[in-house]
Amino acid sequence: MTDVMSRTRVLLAENPVLAIVIGTLLMLAADEAIAPGFASARQISGQLTVAAILGIVAAGQGLVILSGREGIDLSVASVMSLAALTVGNVMGGDNALTLPALGVSLAVGVSARMFNGLGVAVLRIPPLVMTLRTAGVITGLLVVLTQGQTSGAASPLLQGFIGQPFLLGLPGILWVWVVLIAGIHLMLTSTRFGFNLYAVGSNDLAAELSGVRVRWTRIVTYGLSGLFSGFGGFCLLGYTGTVSVGASEQYILPSVIAVVIGRAWSWW
């Protein structure tokens, strides 16, 4: 008996994904027991839609954390709000402007986060304080610009993409989420950038000596994570219809927690 238990433990420890799937199923069962109907297909799809935004943002957070040297980004929420507010005002509820708005959100996310990357990689400011302070500046800026009011409007197209069934009864955002997961996995396991990122994250001195452009890799990683925050902001706007400054606060620490639960964590 103890043998089975210890073997299960080793199995779960070696396969975090399996552990997470089992944990999720257990929680779903508990939810169903407490509130019958929770495990219905509709409800699960709704839950996944909410989770997808966090999942997308957390993917960017995971990349930053992988890049090592105490990498963390606490500016996710402010960048999301920045992207969502910019996009909402660009789009103004117009279907035709949805795609250009997507481009804007990604550009906003990347440039804001590249700034963090520069501070961390070039000025060697610890990421925790660097990202926290840029978050303060961005939020302050948004408060001035929006006067604390909600602003901007999502186009019906975007709202449908987040909320309405698209393929096999699931909304479009879930399919994008799946594609993004596959894309990140491919990037990390079979591109030069992915290998460089792991090298920089586990030992940046050794990476530098073997010819990896450490600073550049870090800056690109922060920028890339901004892509996910920008897109997260875009989706958040689609989910809620209109956005205010504080709308994304709830994503800061959960994005880190999601990474920790997913075990991409190597420091502290």
Partner: protein, 319 residues
């Protein structure tokens, strides 16, 4: 024979020199904006305002030097604050105030102990653990006192802002704080803590009780946050369950500005005191520069980023 490094090199390698330089710059700017800056009364009132953050930053510094971090310090401040005010009010009189203070400090130490056991004993990840405990502790604070209010006897804040045995009370507190840092700095515990922070594996293999040392650092931080919380009603005269929040990340910023590496094992704890003063002066400058209210957080963020960027001129950590 290796030549002794020059003065500039030594300054660059000293973790605390950046903090000193920043402090000098800020004091000059502050003195230009605030005419009566060097009057003893004004300097004391500045110190009165800065002291709580300095203390919390010192607690954070011990945790960070040991290679951990505590994001629940602000919540601990809130909890202790309301515990002191509520107990002092319920019991009443001088006895009640002292009972409240004792209970508050005990609560702070207990929170630190829980954090330490979870992080060093159960080996949970520090940022997440202390973030989670901060939610629990903050919830407790709201349970103890749901709304800001309550009042301490006037003697409490009169003592805090007043003079004891011929010296301003806050100056005595600062003296005790710096003295205590110096005393701990020379102890074996401090050497062990630095070793644990710099190389946990190595410290363990040398036979140091790593878990106990790390737990101890969290208990110190909880205690410092509690003691800091005792001074706050000395400034505001009341209890507020939400007042501590700003202290958590302020203390981390102060530690970094004080030249202490967040990766552990590098820097002087005294730097945290300077870091706290730096943040205090920045707030002062923003106030006296008459910056419109809605722009204050932007300006504050930009100044702190610039101060952090100045770190490029010093080495953050060898290697």
């Amino acid at each position: 024979m290796i030549a002794r490094p020059g003065l500039m090199t030594r300054l660059r390698r000293n973790p605390i020199s950046l903090a000193v330089a920043l402090l000098v710059v800020l004091i000059v700017v502050n003195a230009l904006l605030q005419r009566n800056f060097f009057k003893p009364g004004i300097m004391l009132s500045n110190l009165t305002t800065f002291l709580p953050l300095m203390m919390i930053a010192v607690g954070q510094a011990f945790v960070v030097k040991g290679g951990s971090i505590d994001l629940s310090l602000g919540a601990i401040v809130s909890l202790v604050n309301v515990v002191v005010v509520v107990i002092a009010e319920r019991v009443g009189g001088t006895g009640g105030v002292f009972m409240g203070m004792a209970a508050g400090v005990a609560a702070g130490l207990a929170c630190g102990l829980v954090n330490g056991i979870l992080i060093a004993g159960v080996r949970l990840q520090a940022i997440m653990t202390t973030f989670a405990t901060s939610i629990v502790i903050g919830g407790l604070a709201l349970r103890v006192l749901p709304q800001a209010g309550g009042a301490l006897p006037a003697a409490y804040y009169i003592t805090y802002g007043g003079w004891v045995v011929g010296l301003p009370f806050v100056l005595i507190v600062l003296g005790v704080l710096v003295g205590a840092i110096g005393w701990v700095g020379r102890s074996a515990f401090h050497t062990h803590l630095t070793a644990v922070g710099a190389n946990r594996q190595g410290a363990y293999q040398t036979g140091l009780p790593v878990a106990r040392i790390r737990i101890m650092s969290h208990v110190i931080a909880g205690g410092m946050a509690a003691v800091a919380a005792l001074w706050i009603p000395g400034v505001t005269g009341a209890g507020d369950p939400l007042m501590g929040q700003a202290f958590t990340l302020g203390s981390v910023s102060a530690v970094v500005l004080g030249g202490i590496a967040l990766s552990g094992g590098w820097g002087y704890v005294l730097g945290a005191v300077l870091g706290g003063a730096i943040l205090g002066f920045i707030n002062n400058i923003i106030f006296f520069a008459n910056i419109p209210y809605q722009f204050q957080s932007i300006v504050q963020g930009v100044i702190i980023l610039l101060a952090l960027a100045a770190g490029i001129f010093v080495s953050r950590k060898p290697g």
